[in-house]
């Protein structure tokens, strides 16, 4: 700021910041930085200058800038207020809420080429879209008399319990001078309770009749599968993993073998129903074993369109396989060779005696 050629004051202003100074007797001048625009070729700033309490005689025109005031066109700052509203803020899993998005232009200019972006919402699924502006809105006028613009109405279904903030709707737009602006909506909070969501829960018990067997002896395992949930379990499959040192011999009704591996398959296991299966294994090698199994099934919780898949693993208590009754014969072939030799000798002896006494 200069008085004549003398610099009185210097500095920088932020947007909406102003500076005042006096001139002559009681005259005041206020300069306020309205906005700064960087999108064009050159950076531009809009400055609001207000003169007050001055004597007209104190003013005189020194020079008129060419194409200045006479060529200026008004370009304000549009401001869109986007609101996102829900009909219910506390629901249960599976319940549906209706979301309504509105926009209203404030500020001192109309909003042009308005585009709304509503991101996808986690923990909810879009159930239905009632209304939606399909393309960009070319102009939203400002003013108290201009009603709110309806952007969209849609319904969301809660899929998971918890407290969630809906994501904000973003609006991008320009003013009459083509300057770009952006606004975001509020983010309503929704509390989703667990509610009465259905589920299947297949409890599996695997038992063996013996905890200790000798090699080559047999062991019977019993499998009891019970659905303790409140939804039917479908495609229930239990793959029995027979350990290396054991061999699958046979199984009762309902147990099939696929590729030599035993498997139980139940099309549907209703809630509170159970099924029992038994199968026989043969201990092949000495060691400590546990029979494990891999369970898989799926169910519909009454909320989701897709079935929910469940997997689990189970195992029996450990089984000790000890040496067989005659394993010592295999360890030491002499135990076989010597008796065989003795038997052969006895056989030869008997034959010779028979020949000796046969007449």
């Amino acid at each position: 700021m200069y008085e004549r050629d003398k610099q009185i004051k210097t500095g920088l202003l932020d947007v909406n910041e102003s500076v005042e100074f006096d001139f002559e007797d009681g005259g005041k001048i206020q300069m306020r930085l309205e906005s700064v625009h960087t999108g064009g070729v050159l950076p531009r700033a809009t400055v609001e200058i207000t003169m007050s309490n001055y004597n007209i005689g104190d003013l005189y025109v020194n020079e008129v800038i060419e194409s200045g005031r006479s060529g200026a066109a008004f370009a304000g700052d549009p401001k869109l207020v986007v609101s996102k509203n829900v009909d219910k803020s506390e629901i249960e899993v599976g319940d549906v809420i209706t979301v309504t998005v509105n926009a209203k232009a404030t500020g001192n200019d109309a909003a042009y080429d308005v585009l709304f972006t509503d991101p996808k919402q986690e923990h909810f699924v879009l159930k239905e879209t009632t209304y939606e502006v399909s393309t960009r809105i070319p102009r939203i006028d400002f003013g108290k008399s201009i009603p709110e613009t309806l952007v969209c109405i849609y319904k969301l279904k809660a899929t998971e319990a918890g407290t969630f903030d809906l994501r904000a709707v973003t609006a991008t737009y320009t003013n009459s001078a083509g300057q770009t602006y952006e606004s975001s909506s509020n983010t309503p909070t929704i509390t989703v309770l667990e509610g009465d969501k259905q589920r299947a829960d297949v409890e599996t018990m695997m038992n063996v009749d013996l905890s200790s067997v000798r090699r080559n002896e047999r062991i019977t395992s019993t499998v009891i599968m019970r659905n303790i949930g409140n939804a039917p379990a479908k495609a229930v499959r239990l793959d029995i993993v027979v350990p290396e040192g054991m061999e699958y011999v046979s199984g009762g009704e309902g147990i099939e073998t696929v590729g030599g591996k035993p498997r139980i398959y139940i099309d549907t296991l209703q809630p509170n129903n159970d099924k029992e299966f038994s199968y026989t294994l043969k201990a092949k090698e000495v060691g400590k074993y546990s029979i494990s199994s891999e369970l898989s099934y799926e169910y519909n919780n009454g909320v989701d369109a897709q079935n929910i898949k469940q997997n689990d693993t189970f195992a029996t208590s450990s089984i000790d396989v000890e040496e067989g009754r005659f394993d010592f014969l295999l360890k030491n072939p002499l135990y076989i060779a010597i008796p065989l030799a003795i038997l052969a000798a006895i056989g030869i002896h008997i034959y010779r005696r028979h020949r000796e006494y046969r007449y």
Partner: protein
């Protein structure tokens, strides 16, 4: 160790021989039929056994005698109780028979077991003994089994001639066993025969055992020969085996009683010499009792050889060998045999004269069949 040859001639001799072999395997007469597969004869001496028979089926019935010791003399199936046929068969096969004896080696003593009444045994034995005596210098004793008196005239006359022939063959002695006397054993005929065979076998085995045992008081082969050379060349054997604790005095008396003897004789009247072999645990063998009984016997018969074999834990057993000066029972047998010979002779004469059949055929003399 003595070398002993035991020959069984004919069915009876074969069976007694088989019984000896069975007893020698252990277990006595209750020896398991399968014993031959796991046991072998346990003779004190070196004993060779040999069975001759013209009936192959009789040889097949033997179960405890080795096949090589069973010699079939080929003549169809036996000689049919005809001693003349038997003698002829022996002569025809003499060299083969004697070669079998020769192959068994040299012996200190031989026993020939036979029935006096049958075909093969009664005819073979005298000829066999004669050949053995001609060829070898060891003594040969015959154990001769007398028939049931009711077995028939042929058997009776066979017995009479067979015993005579054996005596004349040069046998060093004949030990008699009488089926008639022993048939009070009871049971059916098979059990009776088997029982008699077992009795003879048990006594002979005991005798063989005693001849080659170390004794507290000794009887040996020499004593045996001396005893057998006494009397009329006939002898018999008495035996008793206690199955509970029993004084030795009682055991000796039982061996000399009718139930212990193989042939009916009054020991104290008919015996000429005797040998008594006593076996058992030392605690049963009272010298005083033994001496008393032996003295009592020697007072009646003259000399008595006695031998004592100590066997720990065994009840007392006594075998008595008696040679006979006379044999009243044998005289009775010969009386019956003479009657049988007369009966057979008369019958044969009638047949030869054709008296009975002439009467039959004379009824149609001069007649022709009418059709």
């Amino acid at each position: 160790m003595l070398n002993i040859l035991v020959i069984g001639n004919g069915q009876c001799g074969n069976r007694i021989l088989d019984s000896i072999n069975r007893h020698a395997m252990g277990g006595g007469k209750n020896c398991n039929k399968l014993a031959k597969f796991y046991a072998k004869q346990k003779f004190k001496s070196h004993v060779e056994t040999l069975a001759f028979n013209t009936a192959v089926n009789d040889l097949k019935e033997m179960k405890f005698t080795k096949a090589k010791d069973r010699v079939h003399i080929p003549h169809l199936h036996g000689v049919g109780a005809n001693r003349n046929v038997g003698k002829q068969v022996f002569e025809e096969n003499k060299e083969m028979i004697m070669r079998q004896v020769e192959e068994r080696g040299n012996f200190d003593i031989a026993f020939v077991l036979t029935s006096a009444s049958g075909g093969t045994g009664s005819s073979f034995t005298p000829l066999l003994v004669r050949e053995m005596k001609n060829r070898y210098d060891y003594p040969v004793y015959c154990v001769v089994v007398l028939p049931f008196r009711e077995e028939g005239t042929l058997y009776l006359q066979n017995t009479a001639f067979s015993i005579r022939d054996i005596r004349q063959s040069g046998a060093d002695g004949i030990i008699l066993a009488d089926n008639q006397y022993l048939k009070n054993i009871g049971g059916n005929i098979e059990e009776a025969y088997n029982g008699i065979n077992d009795m003879v076998a048990e006594r002979l085995l005991f005798l063989l055992d005693a001849l080659d045992s170390e004794m507290m008081m000794v009887t040996d082969l020499g004593d045996f020969k001396t005893v057998m050379s006494g009397g009329a060349g006939l002898a018999t054997i008495g035996f008793f085996r206690a199955d509970k604790e029993m004084p030795i005095k009682t055991t000796i008396q039982n061996s000399l009683s009718p139930s212990g003897l193989l042939f009916s004789t009054n020991v104290y009247e008919e015996a000429s010499r005797a040998m008594i072999v006593i076996k058992g645990d030392r605690k049963y063998l009272s010298i005083d009792e033994i001496s008393t009984e032996v003295e009592k016997l020697s007072g009646a018969v003259g000399h008595v050889f006695k031998g004592i074999v100590v066997r720990d834990g065994e009840y007392p057993q006594v075998l008595s060998l008696l040679t006979l000066e006379s044999a009243h029972e044998l005289e009775k047998l010969y009386n019956v045999a003479v009657q049988a010979i007369h009966y057979e002779k008369a019958k044969k004469q009638r047949v030869e004269e054709g008296i009975e059949m002439k009467k039959t055929f004379s009824q149609i003399e001069g007649m022709e069949p009418e059709y």
